[in-house]
């Protein structure tokens, strides 16, 4: 499960960022947006997406409600909360620091 944990952690960050920039969005939309942003290099496993959404909601970082989509489909829309924004900021900083450190480690090897 080691891989999955990392993926889950980053998935949560991507979801929060997506909702922060796009506003309320349904699960399918979030998935598509993440895939597009990644240049289709990521495929979101929906079996992991929905549990992740539920977990974020249980943490109180997002909230959800039923609404109507652009093409007139009933869907559950997710929106980021204030706590979610703070968490996003915190987690982003954390992530940047991690990648920076990792980059330093990995950089010399490339040469």
């Amino acid at each position: 499960m080691g891989d999955g944990d990392v993926w889950r952690g980053t998935l949560a960050l991507m979801v929060l960022k997506t909702l922060d920039t796009m506003g309320a969005q349904h699960g399918y939309g979030i998935a598509r947006r993440i895939e597009q942003t990644s240049g289709d290099r990521l495929v979101v496993q929906y079996g992991t997406l929905y549990p992740a959404l539920l977990k974020l909601e249980q943490e109180g970082w997002i909230r959800s409600d039923w609404g109507i989509s652009d093409n007139n489909r009933k869907a559950r829309f997710y929106a980021i909360t204030r706590a979610g924004r703070k968490a996003l900021e915190r987690e982003s900083r954390e992530w940047e620091r991690t990648t920076e450190i990792l980059a330093r480690f990995l950089a010399p090897e490339r040469t």
Partner: protein
């Protein structure tokens, strides 16, 4: 903190609703729709668009499970869901569910009922503080005179020495049964009194519910007229009057002051109604050779039973040396009180507990078979669930939840059955069951039933769940409904289950068969008297009201009036009834033999009878003469001896005219005037019939049992007889009115009861076994319909098909019988103390029972075999 909040939300989710299943499904559906729409926009056909969306979602089932797992605690949540699912599935097949619950209800109910008896009688501590330290102290009698007797009541002088010299006990107390005729308040009643020494209540630590108990100071002969009432007497006779303490009641014609009331819970000895001070006088304290009292004691916290036994052994050896005339060969034994009280029924109860455990195992095997058969019909459902992503563990869990749900329902039914049958069981045990009033469905019984139910659910569910999920999902899907499963392997599992059922049923049937034979043997035993048309009743003359000559007068007058009644053919009295174990055992010395001390003289039954007793019970006079009214006090003392006694002491010659001494009565030689036929004085099972009869008028003990032979229904003369007794003394109690037939019946009550219960359980086991065989064969026939069809198409006759099916059914039956016979031979020893006249390895029983089981196996095979011959070859072939 954040994590805690998340946990709390998750924990309440399944209960508070949170996100419902429907909600999750709706969201996943909406996801699919959105994706499909997108795909269509991208130019796919609607079908293709939907298919792609499905694939992308990664298996609806798996997504939904993962989603749900996040929703709450996955395990708890899944179980709650499985229970709902299982309940729905069970309701959908009412036939299966009812059968399964009925089978389990019987199995679990039988266990709960028998366990509640074992719990109350054997396991639960006696209702006294620190009851584990309570012990009983018995004499061990000399082996030559009392072969097979391990416990004997205690003589006063020996008790007093034990008490004075031992250090292992906190307190030691002595008690004996006392007559307590209650008069002056309504119907006269012979209460059971216990005469107890001053330490008695301190040993038990029994506290009264009213007033005080007896203690030091009450034994003072001048002030000894005080009494403690049992709660039941206080309630039924005295209206539970709280101010009753301090009032006087008349016992044995004398006034006694009530000082306290003892709760029924604390009733000890078990049959006591009232407790009186023992108040031995100096003469009574000195008796060493007559053993008539019982001893209870409380061990010190620092001592154990082993130490106490060692100490008493030392004391007994000293007493033997000091008083060889009375004590030679008499030892002592200390036993935990609880063990001592239940020792008589312990074996029987444990045998029954084993029997119901067998029944439960058979029920388990049957349920497992039912679940397997049901699984056959559901292999498609399970395969689909596996195909859409449910893990094997999840499916096994769901199947186990289903069997556990069945077990729980079975337990509920079983508890209801147990609650209903407990009264019946304790009643049919009769007086042989100590602590019967304590039997109830208490917390421990409930806990036991819960554990039994859980184990049953898992036991019955594991094998089917394992088998059903092992198959390849694709394989099962390819096959038609109702034909899945790997045939050979599954049939093997089912055959093993049937074999086990047959073996267990056979063991139970052998047990029941042995007890049935025992009872038949006991019934066939000639008691030595003719019990038909005879009624008996106890007449207790209190010592206080009647001195010795008065008692003889009363007895004469009573018999004269009773004999004059219409319908009465004969009447007489005896002190202790035959067959009903108990009564006096006394040392006997033959005149002319070398004199020996009392403790070394042979002991045998001594009975006091009135003239006419032989005719009343139709005993035969073999030699000499019967007692007459002339054999009175002051006339030469005489005795009658039984034929076995005559044979023992005077083999080959007539004992008439010989003389013997009954040393416990007095030192006078008594002349043998006649020889009478042997009677089973100690019970039907006993081979010892040696008895000496003495005329009541020459010994005059306090207790007489009136024996009346009537022309018609023996109970019909009872009112007239009681009336005749009351016409002499209106305050005279008459107790224990029973026909002689029922006295004999009561003496074998324990065997009869064990036989009935074991037979019931064994029949149940056989029935369940038959259902098992039938189930396996019908299933086998259904599975092999094609094969049978081909055989018939190729020319096999109906007879061949029948033979094939029956042989298949008999295989596990025969193996089961063989295993069962071996098991019954091994376990038979457990029954040895309950059987009589047969050995636990009785060949006839084994043969008959084996035949019965094989026969039942055959009958159970016939219906499926017949059904196999009805297979239409064409249809069977086409169906595939």
């Amino acid at each position: 903190m954040r994590r805690l909040r998340g946990w709390i939300r998750r924990a309440v989710a399944p209960i508070a609703g949170g996100r419902s299943d429907a909600d999750i499904d709706a969201e996943l559906r909406s996801h699919l729709e959105l994706h499909t729409d997108d795909n269509i926009r991208a130019g796919m056909t609607p079908d293709e668009a939907r298919r792609r969306a499905w694939i992308a979602l990664g298996g609806v089932e798996r997504s939904r499970d993962a989603y749900r797992d996040q929703r709450g605690f996955p395990m708890l949540d899944a179980i709650v869901r499985d229970i709902r699912h299982a309940a729905r599935a069970l309701v959908k097949s009412p036939g299966f569910t009812t059968t399964a619950i009925a089978i389990l209800g019987l199995g679990i109910g039988a266990n709960a009922a028998i366990f509640s008896v074992v719990n109350a009688v054997v396991l639960r501590p006696l209702p006294f503080p620190d009851a584990s330290r309570l012990v009983r102290v018995w004499h061990t009698p000399p082996r030559e005179q009392f072969p097979g007797v391990t416990r004997f009541s205690v003589s006063p002088a020996n008790y007093l020495d034990w008490q004075a010299e031992s250090t292992a006990f906190e307190h030691m107390a002595v008690y004996g049964y006392r007559e307590a005729n209650l008069t002056g308040r309504g119907e006269p009643d012979a209460l059971q009194g216990a005469g107890v020494s001053s330490e008695f209540f301190e040993v038990l630590r029994a506290a009264p519910i009213l007033g005080r108990v007896l203690g030091p100071g009450d034994e003072d002969p001048v002030r000894s007229h005080v009494v403690v009432l049992g709660e039941h007497i206080w309630r039924t006779r005295f209206g539970a009057d709280p101010s009753f303490v301090g009032q006087a009641v008349t016992l044995n014609g004398e006034p006694y002051t009530v000082v306290g009331v003892l709760a029924d819970r604390m009733r000890f000895p078990l049959r006591a109604d009232v407790w009186l001070p023992l108040a031995w006088n100096a003469e009574e304290r000195a008796v060493r050779g007559n053993h008539n009292y019982l001893v209870v004691a409380r061990l010190k916290a620092t001592a154990d039973v082993r130490q106490a036994n060692a100490e008493l052994a030392t004391i007994s050896q000293r007493l033997e040396r000091q008083y060889p005339a009375d004590d030679k060969g008499w030892g002592a034994i200390v036993l935990p009180l609880q063990q001592d009280i239940v020792s008589d029924v312990r074996v029987g109860l444990l045998v029954l507990l084993g029997a119901v455990a067998c029944v439960l195992l058979i029920a388990c095997a049957n349920l497992a078979n039912l679940l397997l058969a049901r699984g056959l019909g559901r292999s498609r459902e399970i395969a689909i669930r596996a195909a859409v992503g449910a893990s094997r563990a999840r499916i096994v869990q769901q199947l186990l939840v289903e069997s556990s749900l069945l077990a729980a329902s079975g337990a509920a039914v079983g508890l209801a059955a147990a609650a209903w049958s407990i009264g019946l069981i304790t009643k049919s045990f009769g007086a042989t069951l100590p602590r019967a009033s304590e039997v109830a469905l208490d917390g421990r019984v409930l806990l036991y039933t819960c554990i039994v139910a859980i184990v049953t659910g898992l036991l019955a569910g594991v094998a089917p769940a394992w088998r059903m999920t092992r198959g390849d999902a694709g394989e099962a899907l390819k096959q038609g409904m109702g034909r899945g499963g790997s045939h050979a392997g599954e049939r093997r599992v089912r055959n093993v289950l049937v074999t086990a059922e047959v073996a267990l049923a056979l063991i139970l049937l052998v047990g029941a068969g042995l007890l049935i034979r025992t009872l038949a043997q006991l019934r066939a035993v000639n008691p030595g008297i003719d019990p038909h048309h005879v009624v008996t009743m106890g007449v207790v003359l209190s010592r206080a009201e009647y001195d010795k000559p008065q008692r003889a007068q009363f007895s004469d007058e009573m018999l004269r009036r009773v004999r004059a009644l219409p319908g009465v053919e004969a009447a007489a009295t005896i002190d202790s009834l035959p067959v009903d174990d108990g009564g006096s055992m006394q040392p006997v010395a033959i005149e002319g033999d070398a004199p020996r001390p009392l403790s070394e003289q042979p002991e045998m039954a001594v009975r006091a009878i009135t003239p006419g007793y032989l005719d009343t019970v139709r005993m035969r006079l073999r030699d000499g003469r019967d007692f007459t009214d002339a054999d009175r006090d002051g006339r030469p003392p005489v005795v009658l001896v039984s034929a076995s006694t005559a044979h023992r002491f005077w083999p080959g010659r007539s004992p008439v005219g010989q003389r013997l001494v009954l040393g416990l009565l007095d030192s006078q030689p008594r002349e043998v005037v006649g020889v009478v036929s042997d009677v089973k004085v100690h019970g039907l099972q006993s081979t010892d019939t040696q008895t000496i009869y003495v005329p009541y008028a020459q010994v005059r003990q306090g207790y007489e049992t009136l024996v009346v032979r009537s022309a018609g229904d023996p109970m019909g003369v009872v009112p007239a007889v009681v009336g005749a007794i009351r016409s002499i003394n209106p305050g005279q109690p008459v107790v224990d009115i029973a026909t002689m037939d029922s006295v004999i019946g009561e003496s074998i009550a324990q065997q009869r009861f064990a036989m009935r219960l074991l037979s019931a359980f064994a029949s149940l086991a056989l029935l369940l076994g038959a259902i098992g065989i039938y189930g396996v064969l019908s299933y086998g026939v259904r599975q092999r319909i094609t094969e049978i069809g081909i055989r018939m198409a190729l020319g096999a006759r109906a007879l061949d098909v029948v033979r094939m099916v029956i042989v298949e059914g008999l295989k596990p039956t025969i193996v089961g019988v063989a295993i069962g016979v071996a098991g019954a031979l091994a376990l038979g020893q457990a029954l040895s103390s309950l059987v009589f006249g047969v050995t636990p390895r009785d060949a006839a029983t084994f043969v008959v029972v084996s035949m019965v089981v094989l026969g039942v196996g055959l009958v159970a095979s016939i219906v499926p075999a017949y059904r196999a011959t009805r297979v239409d070859p064409l249809l069977a072939l086409r169906a595939d």
